[in-house]
Assembly symmetry: C3
Homo-oligomer: 403 residues x 3
C-alpha cells in the first residue's frame, strides 16, 4: 500500500505531460494562421490591456457636496424696491448639492383665507349651475362653492384670496442680475475599495487663490468658483430665456482617476449641461417648460393669519458627482490573459477547419492529425493510407515483427 | 547571422502547429462526451449569451428628478377653518426627489420662551426633590428647573411654553383630503458610457396629454402624473392608516434599456413600495412607527418672540431612480467566448478521466493517448504493450532496422 | 444522400477526440512544472474563489434614510435668553439624509432695506472717488452708491441694513450644549438583483430597546441612536473646535452582506469620518474652513418689511449608505473556472519553453513533441534522428514494408 502511494506520488511529481503537436510545413496555411494568431495577440495586448485597461479593477466613489452662493440682486416692482441677498433667493439655505437660485417671480401679497373668484380661463361661468359646489378642478385654487361671481364671470372658490394671477410672467426677468452671482463648490470623494480620499480643492488651491479666481475651462479649470452666467452659457442656454421661465442645469464633477499614477493627477473635471431636454427645442414642442415652485411667507397682521405667496422661477442646479477610479489588480489581469488564451484556442479551431476541410491535401493532414483507435475491427475504410504502417502493427500484434 | 534570422522567421511564418488528436471510436464514450460538449455549448449560447446577455456591457445612469404637487386641502380644528395649498403642506417647497406631504398635524400655537410644567407621564413628581435641577430627560422638552409644579404634579422646565401635548393624534387625519392631490414627476437620466440621455416625458407625451392624464399601470403606464391615493394603494398601504401616523413610500423609476434596439424602446417603469417594513406588520411589532417631524413658524407679537409649533405627520415620498443600460461590446463577448473555450477544456478533462480510469479498455486508451519518453531506461513496466513497436525502436536505435 | 447524413451523424456522435500527450519522465522538469501547475491551482482556488469570492455575483443597494434629532439648547447673548429646540436648530426640518445642526451663530436683528456703510476691511475709503457707484465688490453686501461714509470711512451700499458684522465668531460656541443632542437614523436598503430588503432596525431592536440605548462601537453597535458628541469624537474632531466654525461629518452606513448565509447576518456597520480634509490640518493650510450658511426670518414691523439674519455655523451631517451584497451565481463561477483553465494553458506554454529550449535533451524532446509533415521534400535537416523511423515510412510509401 505504502509502495503504491509512493509510486503514485512519484509518477505525479516526476512526470510532465505536454500535448503532442503536428507541425505542418505549408506556406499558405502557415502565413494565414500566424496572421490570425498575431491578430488575436494584438487584440489582447492592444485593446484589452492598453485601450480598455483590462488589467485594472474599477471603483466608484462615495461623495459629499457643499455649495455656497454669493451675490446681491435688486428689483423695482411697481415702485417697490427690494434687495435680494443670498438668504433671500437661494432655496434651500443650507448649501446642498441641489438648490434653486430665484431669477424671476410673481408675488401675491397679503393673501387671506376666504372666498373669492377664480381666474378667467378654465373656470368661466355664466350662472351658478356652471359651478359645481364642493368639487375641485385640477388647475383650480380651491374647492368651488357653487356660486358664480357675476362681476368676474368665474366660479367662486374657498382659497387663499385673492388668488394668484400667474398669466403674465415678468419679462425681462426681475432678478436678471443673478447672472453675476457666484457659486462655490466644495466636493469630497472617497473610493472605498482603494481607500483613497480626494477633495476638489486640489494641491495649489489655497485661500488666496479662491478669493480671486473664477472658473474658466482653459485658463482656470480647477477654480471651484463659478459665475452663474458662465454656467448657463456653458450649458448651452441663453440667460434671459432661462431666467424668465426657469430651467434646470446639471454641473457634473467628473472624477476619472488612474490610481496607478501619482495621486496628484487625480483631479476633477467640470461639465455643464441642461437637464430636461435640448435647449434648442422650441417651447411649443416641449411638454413641460421651465422650472418653478410656490413658496409662502406666513405672518400675522392684526391677529389675522396672512401670507405672501411667491411663484418662484429659478435656475435649478444639480451638482452631480461622476466617478471612476482604476488601479492595477492581479485578478482582472489574469482573467484577461486566461480568456485571451481561450480566444487563441478559437483561432486554432478556425485554422484546423481550413486545414482539414478546405486544403487540397486535407486527407493527408487528417491522418497526420488524428490517431485512430479501432479495436478488433477490420480497417477497410478509405482512410487507410501508406502512413498507417505503425497503426497496422497495433492491430495485428507481434506478427509484423517477423516481417 | 542574417541567414539564421531569415531561417527563424521563415520557420515561424511558414509553419503551423496543431495538436495531434487521438480519435476514439467507442460508442459509449462518444455519446457521453458529445452530450457533455453539447451541454457546455448550450450553456454558453443559451444562458450566457441569450439569457444573461453576456455579449453586452452595462452602465448605470446619472439622473435628476423634479417633482410638483397640486391640490388644496381644508381643515376645521376647534372651529378654526384653514386652507392648505401646495405652499403650505409640502416640505421642502423646491420640488426635490424627496419630500413630505403633510396629512395630519398637532398644532401648538403661541409658544413663548419661559418656564412651565412638563406633560404628565415620564416627568411626574410629588416634591421638588423628584426634579433634578439643571438636568435633561431624553424625552423632555427642556432643562428641569428643580421645581415640581404641584398643580400638574410634573416637573417644571425651561422651554417654549406651553409644551406640546402630542399624546392625542387626530383621528381621522386632518388632511385626509390629501388622497386627491396629484404628483407630477419629471426625470432625466444620462448613461455616460453610451452618451445617451432620456427623459420620462417620452415620445407621445405632450402638454395636452399631461394636462388630462392620470397614471394607471395598465391604461396609462407612461403618464407622469400620479394621484396620491393611488400611490398609497399601489404600495400596499391603507390611506387612512398611513395618513394618521405618517409613513414613507418609495417611487422607483426603473430604466432598464437595451440600447441595441431603437432608442424609443428605452422607457421608464414605475414601481411603488413602502419603505421601513411590511405594511401588514402590526404597530406593536414595529420598533419605530410612522413618519413625523417638528416645524415652527416664528413671529413677533407685541415685540415678543413667539412661535407656532407643528408636529407634522405626513407621507414621505422618495423618488428613487434605478437604471441599467446594456449595449453590445466586443470585449465581454470575446471574454465570454474565451471562458467558454476554457469550460470546454474542463469537459475534455472529465471525459479523459472516464476514458483513462473507468472504461474496461483503459490501458489501451492510455497507450493511445500518451507517448512516453523514457531515455536510457529499461522498459519493464506493465505498460509495455504490442503497440509500443514504434517506441521500442527509439530505445534500441538502428538495430531494429535489421529485423 | 441519406446514407451520407447517417454516416456523418454516426461519425459525430460515436467518436471522441482527445489530444495526444507526450509523457516526459524527467525529474527536474516534472517537479518544476507540477509546482507551477499547483501554484496556478492554488491561485484559482485560494485567491479567486475563497479570498475574492469570485464565485459570487455582486449588487449594490437602493436606499432611503430618515433622521430625527432630539435635544434642547440654551443661549444667553447680551442678556437675551433663548431656548433652541429641534424645530429651531435643524436645517432642514424634514429629517433628510443630509442636514445641519446649528452649533454657533451670528445674529443681526431688525435688518431693513436701505443705504448704510459697509464693514471696515475691503471697503475702506477716504473720499467718494474710492467708491465706484453702481458696482459690486465680490465680498460686498450690496451695490455701492458712490458715497463714502465719512464716519465709518467705508463705502455706502444699498443692502439690508445694518450690514452683518461677522468678524467676531462667538467663542465658546453658543450652542455648545449640542454635544448632548441625539440623532436617530432609520435606514432601509433594497438589493434589486436579489430581491432582498433590509432595515437597520434589525432583529432584536424593538421600541423598548430604542428608548434606552445609545450607540457604542463595542457595547451597542446596532443601536440606531447616536449622541452628537460621540459622533464628533469618532470622526476625529474636537467638539468645541468644530462647533465654533462648523464642519462636515459623514456617517457611513455600511451594508456588506453575504447572501449565501442566513439573512439575519446582513447587518449594518456605522463608520464616522470628517469630510473635507484631515481634522489635524491647521486652519492656515486649509483653503476653506468650517461650514456656514446664511438664513433669514422675515417679518413685518409697523408694516415695514424687516428680517433677522442668522449666519449659522453648524455640523453638517451626511448619512451615506454604502452597500455590497454577494450571492453565489453560476456565471461568475464558470467564468472564473474557464479563465483558470486558460491560465493553466499559459503554465503549459512556460514549461514547454523550458523543455524545448533550455534542457540538455531539448532536441530529443522536440522530436517527441512534434510530428512533422514534410510532403515531397527531401528530409536532410539535422532534425533527422533514429526515432523518425515511422515518419520516414510516410515519405517513401510502401517500400519500407519490404524491409
Amino acid at each position: 500500500m505504502k509502495n503504491q502511494i509512493t509510486n503514485a506520488l512519484s509518477d505525479f511529481f516526476f512526470e510532465y505531460e505536454t500535448p503532442r503537436q503536428v507541425l505542418v510545413r505549408n506556406r499558405r496555411v502557415g502565413v494565414v494562421c500566424r496572421l490570425i494568431q498575431l491578430g488575436v495577440l494584438a487584440y489582447i495586448i492592444g485593446w484589452v490591456f492598453i485601450y480598455e485597461k483590462g488589467y485594472q479593477s474599477t471603483d466608484t466613489a462615495v461623495s459629499s457636496v457643499f455649495s455656497k452662493i454669493k451675490g446681491v440682486g435688486y428689483t423695482n416692482v411697481n415702485g417697490t424696491e427690494r434687495v435680494w441677498d443670498v438668504a433671500d433667493y437661494v432655496f434651500p439655505s443650507q448649501g446642498d448639492s441641489s438648490f434653486v437660485i430665484m431669477t424671476n417671480y410673481i408675488i401675491t401679497e397679503g393673501q387671506k383665507m376666504g372666498k373669492c373668484a377664480e381666474l378667467p380661463g378654465k373656470h368661466n361661468c355664466s350662472s351658478d349651475a356652471d359651478c359645481e359646489g364642493g368639487s375641485f378642478k385640477r388647475t383650480g385654487h380651491g374647492e368651488m362653492t357653487g356660486v358664480c361671481v357675476k362681476a368676474n364671470k368665474t366660479c367662486e372658490v374657498v382659497a387663499w384670496c385673492p388668488v394668484e394671477d400667474d398669466h403674465n410672467i415678468p419679462d425681462p426677468p426681475l432678478l436678471v442680475s443673478a447672472e453675476d452671482f457666484t457659486l462655490f463648490i466644495k466636493n469630497s470623494v472617497t473610493f472605498p475599495l482603494f481607500g483613497v480620499t480626494r477633495s476638489n480643492l486640489v494641491e495649489g488651491i489655497d485661500a488666496a487663490y479662491i478669493s480671486k479666481c473664477l472658473y474658466d475651462p482653459e485658463e482656470a479649470p480647477l477654480c471651484p468658483i463659478f459665475r452663474l452666467g458662465d454656467i448657463v452659457k456653458m450649458s448651452g442656454f441663453n440667460f434671459e430665456t432661462i431666467a424668465k421661465m426657469g430651467g434646470a442645469i446639471g454641473i457634473v464633477v467628473d472624477w476619472t482617476c488612474n490610481l496607478d499614477l501619482d495621486l496628484k493627477h487625480c483631479k476633477p473635471k467640470y461639465n455643464f449641461h441642461g437637464l430636461y431636454g435640448n435647449p434648442s427645442e422650441t417651447d411649443k414642442v416641449r411638454a413641460s417648460v421651465g422650472y418653478n415652485f410656490r413658496y409662502a411667507k406666513h405672518y400675522l397682521e392684526d391677529k389675522i393669519a396672512k401670507r405672501t405667496l411667491f411663484k418662484v422661477f429659478g435656475i435649478r442646479i444639480d451638482i452631480i458627482v461622476q466617478s471612476l477610479a482604476r488601479k492595477f489588480d492581479i485578478i482582472p489581469t489574469l482573467t484577461a490573459i486566461g480568456s485571451g488564451v481561450g480566444i487563441f484556442g478559437v483561432a486554432t479551431v478556425v485554422c484546423d477547419l481550413v486545414l482539414l476541410y478546405l486544403l487540397p491535401k486535407r486527407e493527408f493532414y487528417k491522418n497526420m492529425k488524428f490517431k485512430y483507435t479501432d479495436t478488433h475491427e477490420q480497417v477497410r475504410s478509405t482512410r487507410l493510407m501508406p502512413d498507417m504502417f505503425c497503426n497496422i502493427s497495433v492491430n495485428t500484434g507481434w506478427e509484423q515483427r517477423a516481417v
